[in-house]
């Protein structure tokens, strides 16, 4: 991301350092640290440029890992049609050799509410479909700042409701439904889970929050300590909320799940947090808040890891491990008897 408007990376070779070590460099997992010299920063404040770069990088790495997964997972693009709002693009991943009785996992990509597409997290979706043995539905929700909350959020909620209603057509067992997301997608997932609890439907089995955004207040100690950390920082975080929140008197409870008054009745939850991340504390505090409210919670903190580490270094041992942790928890949750109350 941009520090004082200066863009690093492709364009800055002559006369400038190719990369700048982080203030927290000595704490970073060695395999992740090794990739920082090969990481190009995306200037979040320049949204269009950021989207361009992001799309370019995604295209270059697209399917590199998924090639090995292609044999095991089939994908198709579809839409969630609505009468009073635009169609929501979705991508459905289905394991080719799964047993009968598959659950469904609806996933929201990250990107600070403003970046990211159905292609951004293709590898993770394919991996989870195969290893957790479930149908994964990735959602192409509307992006800020063009579409502020609750547009993208409603897209996500409607997609989940659609999956629940069309379970049989999707080849999914009704009642075995999970939601999840990475980074800003985690905020969307947690918000969807809160609304589903409040409205009584759809019934969710599980939520998976991957280094999630959760708290617009930005007052945690980690927000201060890791204000300048690799790949995500407080400046970008503030800009993100600026793009996303409507700024009028709209109720934003579902936009910033940490503000919820009660966490009771939320589905079993797994949260992953990264140590060297301004978002670390809000993830851990959310886990604690849910646990105190009687919600079964699994929490993984990855030491030496920064935000989005598994995308920056997918080959690293710690990246393999987090995917395995996610797949195991998700698969197990979806295989349990559906909740009936």
């Amino acid at each position: 991301m941009s520090k004082g408007g200066q863009v690093q990376g492709d364009e800055s070779v002559a006369g400038e350092a190719l990369w700048r070590p982080s203030p927290h460099q000595h704490r970073i997992d060695p395999e992740l640290a090794a990739m920082l010299p090969l990481t190009v920063e995306i200037p979040f404040e320049q949204v269009d440029r950021a989207r361009e770069l992001e799309a370019q990088k995604t295209a270059e790495s697209f399917g590199r890992e998924a090639l090995t997964l292609e044999a095991a997972v089939e994908t198709r693009d579809d839409v969630v049609a609505r009468t009073d709002a635009p169609d929501v693009p979705i991508r459905v991943y289905r394991p080719k050799h799964g047993s009968q009785g598959l659950g469904a996992f609806v996933f929201f990509h990250g990107g600070g509410f403003a970046l990211g597409t159905l292609d951004s997290e293709h590898n993770r979706c394919a991996y989870l479909a195969k290893e957790a043995e479930c149908v994964v539905v990735s959602v192409g929700y509307r992006l800020a700042p063009e579409h502020r909350f609750p547009a993208g959020f409603d897209d996500c909620f409607d997609a989940v409701a659609w999956v629940a209603e069309n379970a049989r057509e999707l080849g999914v067992v009704p009642g075995r439904l999970a939601v999840g997301g990475a980074s800003a997608g985690g905020a969307l997932a947690a918000g969807v889970a809160l609304r589903a609890r409040d409205e009584g439907a759809p019934l969710l089995s599980f939520q998976l929050l991957i280094y999630p955004v959760l708290d617009l207040r930005m007052q945690t100690p980690s927000m201060e300590e890791f204000s300048d950390a690799p790949t995500w920082d407080a400046v970008s975080n503030r800009a993100m909320w600026g793009y996303y929140l409507p700024g009028d008197d709209t109720d934003v409870a579902y936009a910033s799940p940490a503000l919820a008054e009660s966490f009771e009745g939320l589905p079993p939850t797994m949260i992953t947090a990264t140590e060297l991340d301004c978002l670390r504390d809000e993830a851990v505090e959310y886990a604690l808040a849910l646990s105190r409210a009687g919600v079964p919670v699994e929490l993984h903190m990855y030491p030496g890891a920064f935000h989005g580490f598994d995308l920056a270094a997918p080959h690293a041992e710690i990246s393999h491990r987090t995917l395995v942790d996610q797949a195991r928890a998700l698969g197990k949750a979806l295989r349990r008897q559906p909740r009936t109350e």
Binding site: L38, T231, H307, G308, H315, E317
Partner: protein, 366 residues
Amino acid sequence: MRGLLLRLSSIDAEAEAALRIIAAFDQLVAQRAEIGGVVRAAAALVECQAGLWDPVHGLLLQVGPDGREIEDSRDVAGTIARAALEGTGGGEVWLERAEGPGPLDEIVVERMAAASLVVLDRMYGSARESDDGALHGLLGERLSEIERVRAARLLGFDDAERVRAVALAQTGGFGHGATSRRVTSVLRQLGQRGEIARAARIGDVFALLTTASVFEDPLPADLRAGVGIEVDVLEASASWTAARAALRFTTQVPGLRRAPLAEADRLGSAVALAAIPADELVGLPELEALDALASTASGRDAIAALDAFVRAGSMRRAAGELHLHHTSVASRVKRAGSALGYPVEDSSCGRVQLALTLWQLKHSLD
């Protein structure tokens, strides 16, 4: 959001890419990565398979471009780049890619080697320094007894242990990764049987020293082995000499069927033939005749028939072995005989056997 991984191939300037590669390996060392991290990074950087072999500690790592370990399986492709791990008695790192080499492979493999040495040093401490060359020293003939005792102990052998040396070579033109993998699988098999086994590359073959008295398991494909005599560990060099000699009897030569494993114990006196210098074998008329025969397909068939006849003792048994009619065998044997210059069917098979053996030995020095 965030910073995204830059694909090396998308960087136009090689100089820039090289700097980034150097920085990446510097980070691995500075941040105290473990050896797996070094190998995974290499594979990910240039999107290929990467491997490491440290014979001193029997450490073999192979990963794909996604960083996941590759099982011991057949080759993906040839080795496209390799670098020695100095001072590890034949240890090395390498890259493999089906599509062939890329412009950054050399610098990646060189940095990988340098980083690996530092990381291995840290993992094993000064023990690596003292292990260095122990196997070489024990198998060579130049160490004093005290030095040999020390070398044997460093390798984990008791002073009075009975051991055999084995010389291992590859038959096909495969990458170094392939041979190291196969040697490691042999080490593992022996280890599972409770035997001590240590290996190191010596020149173009692998040397193995083991407590095993019998080589039971089948050799991995494309490996051939010469098994030395059983000796006290302090006399291992004698077993190594015998193993090197026995290995020559496994050389594959057109027309001859020879087992990939030869044991000095079973060769008997024939093993002494391996001591004949190469010059002595040049100019022998029978060997030149065999060379001429071997240059054509029908000539190679004649050699095969002669070899089978000599080993089986009769035309009929040879025919059975070759799945041919005995008249076909007879005509091929006759052709071989006319090339050699005497009726091979009548003369003592000892003369022919000796010729074929010396012919194989001559080619084992190629």
